[in-house]
């Protein structure tokens, strides 16, 4: 745990965030006034039932979407401004994403999927090192179609962290995986957070995962219900569900 960073100004500051999706007649209030600070180096878990607005928040934090109202700031970046070019630069420079469905490029090998990101980053790791970090040093030249789901997800993590982002955002990274593989993937995420000091936000609707986090944000109905702080972070290998 990085006490120093936690003491300083939070790297994300969200105040009164709302997000309304209007689909024809239907209005969906995905976020209904969210206040949240996230500190550098922190491992945060977003917990909540399906449809409670977790992904919406994560997408806003990651610069994929903008809120309907409220303010959200990353360092000096204002994340409420709908400017495609600025958002692209933000994602490119600061954010690593991991998704439930991996979203690897099928025509590129593991190494190349990582290189895709390192080629456009300022101070990246070598793709081989990133893949070694997730335990895939032996699968460098395999295409996604030749790998298991867990392996593909670990490639996705390697791809997300290879550019040494300040934040790693993971939306249900274990959602499509079995228990054993899921645990392995979570271990990798925890390791990245520990060894690289990357601020990490992981979404899950699985309460058991929460034990790994510094803080657990409980989500319900588009709002932060409560925030829990774990005195001790459990290792992923100790989790079961």
């Amino acid at each position: 745990m990085n006490e120093l960073a936690q003491a300083g100004r939070p790297i994300f500051e969200a105040r009164g965030l709302t997000k309304v999706y209007e689909m024809g007649e239907v209005r969906v209030e995905a976020l209904r006034g969210v206040d949240l600070d996230i500190h550098a180096g922190e491992f945060l878990v977003l917990l909540g039932p399906s449809g409670s607005g977790k992904s919406t928040l994560l997408n806003i934090l990651g610069g994929l979407d903008v809120p309907t109202s409220g303010t959200v700031r990353y360092g000096d970046h204002d994340l409420t401004v709908d400017d495609d070019a600025a958002m692209t630069r933000y994602r490119r420079a600061h954010v690593g994403f991991v998704f439930q469905f991996y979203n690897l490029i099928p025509s590129l090998t593991a190494r190349e999927n990582v290189a895709l990101v390192t080629e456009i980053a300022d101070d990246p790791m070598r793709p081989e090192d990133a893949l070694a970090l997730v335990g895939l040093a032996h699968r460098l030249d395999h295409f996604p179609s030749q790998m298991s789901g867990g392996e593909q997800q670990r490639v996705a993590i390697a791809r997300a962290v290879a550019k040494r982002p300040q934040v790693l955002l993971c939306d249900e990274p274990t959602g499509a995986l079995d228990v054993h593989t899921g645990v392995m993937v979570l271990e990798v995420i925890a390791r990245v957070n520990r060894e690289l000091g990357t601020t990490t936000v992981v979404i899950t609707h699985n309460a058991v995962i929460a034990g790994m986090a510094d803080r657990v944000v409980h989500f319900g109905d588009g709002q932060v219900a409560r925030i829990e702080r774990n005195a001790v972070r459990q290792p992923a290998s100790g989790l079961s569900w």
Partner: protein, 785 residues
């Protein structure tokens, strides 16, 4: 079923851009089919009806002079249904207010009910016994603004005579009126006229005699047998050799045109429909892949394979039907324009251009068949789907490293570049077909432009390198060589080269050909013969030079001997060696040294005409002087020949250029746009993923459009080669005695084709790019592949 049909219309609406692009390609195929075939049928109908109603003769022969009594014997020959004797005389015309030389062919009026009847357009036939009345051909009358009552002068056998226009008319024998030796009509300077037989006979000392014969054959009679018999009878009367319709110039010209239309009618629709079939294959293939879950659901609900197959085929048929309806409309309209062009060019008495049901049915059937055949493989996949298996997403696509990467280029390829290469390489056949489709578009442009380039080249060779005189002048009869000095002495004449022209029949084995031998002075500058590489060749002291095409017709090469039968004077007949072949794109001729030809003819130094280099400032004065020389049968000006050439080009070729270019754009756009749209649906997910990773719009556009750029760039050289090949195919049907069309493509033409393809690609790219900018980034993260 009603619900499925509603799905069909929704699907169509959803894929409207692609459906329209495909329908447009089908439309082009149908339009070319309808346009060319309707025009072709209309022209054929007109030709046949015109020939039948106006009794176009089957066999023709010219001769020096035979007594009218001979007609009975010819008419009695087996196979001859009717023999009409005539008097025909080439002569000079003196048009008021037109200083340039004008020539005409004066033909004695056909007897009532006789062969080659006239179709009166204006006025009436000359009154019997009115020696000063003529009927003039409509194009000539139009070119000079002549109407009944109009007057002009002609030189009838050396005597200037005033004539009054009784009427204007068309004749099946002169649908196309060209000066002998000229390949294109020039109605202002050459025409046909008809006058009363007795007056014309008197003028040419042919009273009770004839110098031309038209024969109508009995049904089933052999033209060859009749021609042989006629030649036998006319031998002692100076017969110039009988020839059948097939070799009649006007008929030949029209037939060649119809044949070319037939070629285009086969070539173009086939190309468009092939491309349409390909497009439907890929587009429907993609649609079926995307709808596999829907198909599985339908099957699970108990819809049979037949119903589902029919559903997708209906979709295909709907797209094709839209193309067919639009194509029939467009083709009918374009065909009307084309028929109008032919009507102007050929001056038919009528041209009934109709939209024949058969042509429409053919076009529709072939298009539907092509469309369904194209989509069949894709649609048939539906039948093989097991519902349970189809509910699951398709297994991820397999990729491999591509050849250039394995060859070591990988090091220099960025990841996006590798994505482009691997995506192209994953389905090489599909990529190759896309390349072929674009290449066809590129090629079609060349076919639309090549005739213009080629004709320009032919003119340049014919009039720039070979026939370089300012004026060519012919005498009414063979004339003593000294006329040359009289010509040279005229003010304004800078150079004179003389020639002798002798009608002959050339024979080699069983092959024979009627033409004339031209005797030339060696070292001529105004009239040069060219070898295969277009270098001037020297005339051999002995032997003949033949047009290369004539060498082919007679199956001879340099060194072979052929038999020459002269068809005038003492009609000598002897074997002569072929000294060589010369390159000529127009007409068919044989050449000999002037002195050698005079010796062959057993005549003193004799000439038939001259080529003149003149001071253009004194041209008008020269024309005036020639009018006063009775022996001068006609004068032709080279620049006018070139102008006639260009006029014909402008009138007919531009049409093809426009049509081919527009249609080529449709093909290129259709293929590229559809490829882009399919690539977008196939790859939208990964492109959105890249955007999430921080790739800019430009960077992902590179990946998608880069693939199109590669396909387009690969297609261009292929398209230029394929286009050349198509031009060769078209040109191969334009090799005849009138002209041999080479394939010449100017650099600008290539550049134009390349530009059109690139612009089409760019437009398709922009159309897709705007969709790329609207990719929904968040949506792709929520769904599995």
């Amino acid at each position: 079923m009603r619900a499925l049909d509603r799905k069909l219309w929704r699907d169509l609406w959803h894929m409207r851009g692609q459906a329209v692009a495909i329908a447009l390609v089908v439309m082009c195929g149908v339009a070319t089919h309808v346009m060319f075939l309707s025009t072709l049928h209309a022209l054929r109908d007109t030709q046949q009806g015109y020939y039948r109603e106006y009794r176009f003769a089957d066999v023709f022969v010219s001769l020096k002079r035979a007594p009218e009594a001979l007609r009975e014997r010819i008419a009695a020959l087996p196979g001859v249904a009717r023999a009409d004797t005539r008097v025909v005389a080439p002569l000079r015309v003196d048009m008021p207010d037109f200083g340039e030389p004008v020539n005409a062919l004066m033909v004695s009026l056909p007897a009532p009910g006789g062969l080659n009847a006239l179709h009166l357009r204006e006025g009436r036939l000359p009154a019997p016994e009115r020696a000063d009345e003529v009927v003039v051909s409509t194009p000539f009358a139009e070119a000079h603004g002549l109407h009944p009552g109009g007057r002009f002068h002609v030189i009838l056998n050396g005597r200037r005579q005033a004539l009054t226009v009784a009427g204007t008319a068309l004749s099946p024998e002169f649908i196309q009126q060209m000066r002998p030796g000229s390949a294109f009509p020039d109605s202002k300077r050459y025409g046909v006229m008809w006058m009363e037989r007795r007056a014309l006979g008197q003028a040419y000392d042919l009273e009770g005699a004839f110098n031309d014969l038209a024969i109508g054959l009995a049904p089933g009679a052999s033209a060859a047998a009749v021609m042989a018999a006629v030649d036998g009878l006319l031998e002692r009367y100076g017969g110039l050799g009988a020839y059948a319709r097939h070799d009649q110039r006007s008929h030949r010209f029209l037939s060649e045109e119809l044949q070319q239309l037939g070629t285009l009618a086969r070539l173009f629709p086939a190309m468009f429909l092939a491309v349409a079939a390909y497009l439907l294959n890929v587009v429907i293939g993609r649609l079926v892949t995307m709808q596999r879950e829907q198909v599985a659901t339908l099957k699970a609900f108990g819809y049979g394979n037949g119903a589902i197959l029919a559903h997708y085929l209906k979709l295909v048929a709907a797209i094709a039907a839209a193309g067919i309806v639009a194509g029939v409309g467009l083709g009918h309209w374009l065909g009307g324009l084309l028929a109008g062009l032919y009507m102007d060019f050929y001056h038919f008495p009528w041209l009934r251009y109709t939209l024949e049901p058969l042509v429409v049915v053919q076009a529709a059937a072939v298009s539907l068949l092509a469309a369904c055949a194209g989509a069949w493989a894709a649609v048939a996949r539906v039948a093989r789907l097991q519902p349970a298996q189809a509910m699951r997403p398709e297994p991820p696509a397999r990729y491999r490293e591509t050849l250039p990467e394995r060859l070591g280029l990988k090091r220099w390829m960025s990841q996006p570049t590798r994505m482009i290469a691997r995506h192209i390489g994953r389905r090489p056949l599909k990529s190759a077909l896309a390349v072929v489709g674009i290449a066809l578009g590129c090629g079609i442009i060349l076919t639309g432009l090549f005739q213009r380039d080629t004709v320009g080249y032919m003119i340049n060779v014919q009039f720039g390198m070979s026939q370089r005189e300012d004026l060519s002048l012919s005498f009414t009869d063979p004339t003593a060589y000294r006329a040359r000095f009289e010509l040279a002495a005229l003010p304004g004449i800078q150079r004179v080269e003389v020639f002798r022209a002798v009608p002959v029949r050339l024979k080699s084995g069983h092959l024979e050909y009627r033409t004339s031998i031209r005797g030339l002075e060696s070292g001529g500058e105004l009239q040069r013969l060219l070898d295969a590489d277009l270098r001037p060749v020297a005339l051999p002291a002995e032997g003949l030079l033949l047009t290369d095409h004539l060498g082919k017709r007679l199956g001879v090469k340099a060194g072979d001997r052929i038999t020459v039968e002269v068809l005038e004077g003492a009609r000598p007949r002897r074997d002569v060696v072929v000294a060589g072949l010369v390159k000529e794109y127009l007409g068919v001729s044989a050449y000999m040294d002037l002195a050698a030809l005079n010796a062959f003819m057993r005549e003193g130094p004799t000439i038939s005409g001259a080529w003149l280099g003149v001071d253009r400032a004194q041209l008008a004065g020269l024309f005036e002087r020639f009018k006063g020389i009775p022996r001068v049968a006609g004068v032709a000006e080279r620049v006018q020949e070139i102008r006639a050439f260009n006029r014909v080009m402008d009138e007919t070729m531009l049409f093809f250029t426009y049509v081919a270019t527009v249609f080529a754009v449709v093909i290129a756009f259709g293929v590229i746009y559809n490829s882009a749209r399919i690539a977008l649906t196939e790859r939208g997910r990964e492109l959105a993923s890249l955007r999430v990773l921080g790739f800019t719009r430009g960077e992902i556009a590179y990946i998608l459009l880069g693939e199109l750029a590669v396909l387009t760039l690969a297609a261009i050289p292929l398209g230029l080669v394929a286009g050349r090949w198509m031009c060769h195919y078209i040109a191969s049907t334009m090799q005849n005695d009138l002209f041999r069309v080479p394939v010449v493509l100017a650099p600008q033409t290539y550049a134009f084709a390349v530009t059109v393809v690139l612009v089409s690609a760019l437009l398709s790219g922009l159309a897709v790019r705007s969709r790329l900018d609207k990719l929904d980034l968040v949506a792709v993260l929520k769904t599995p592949e």
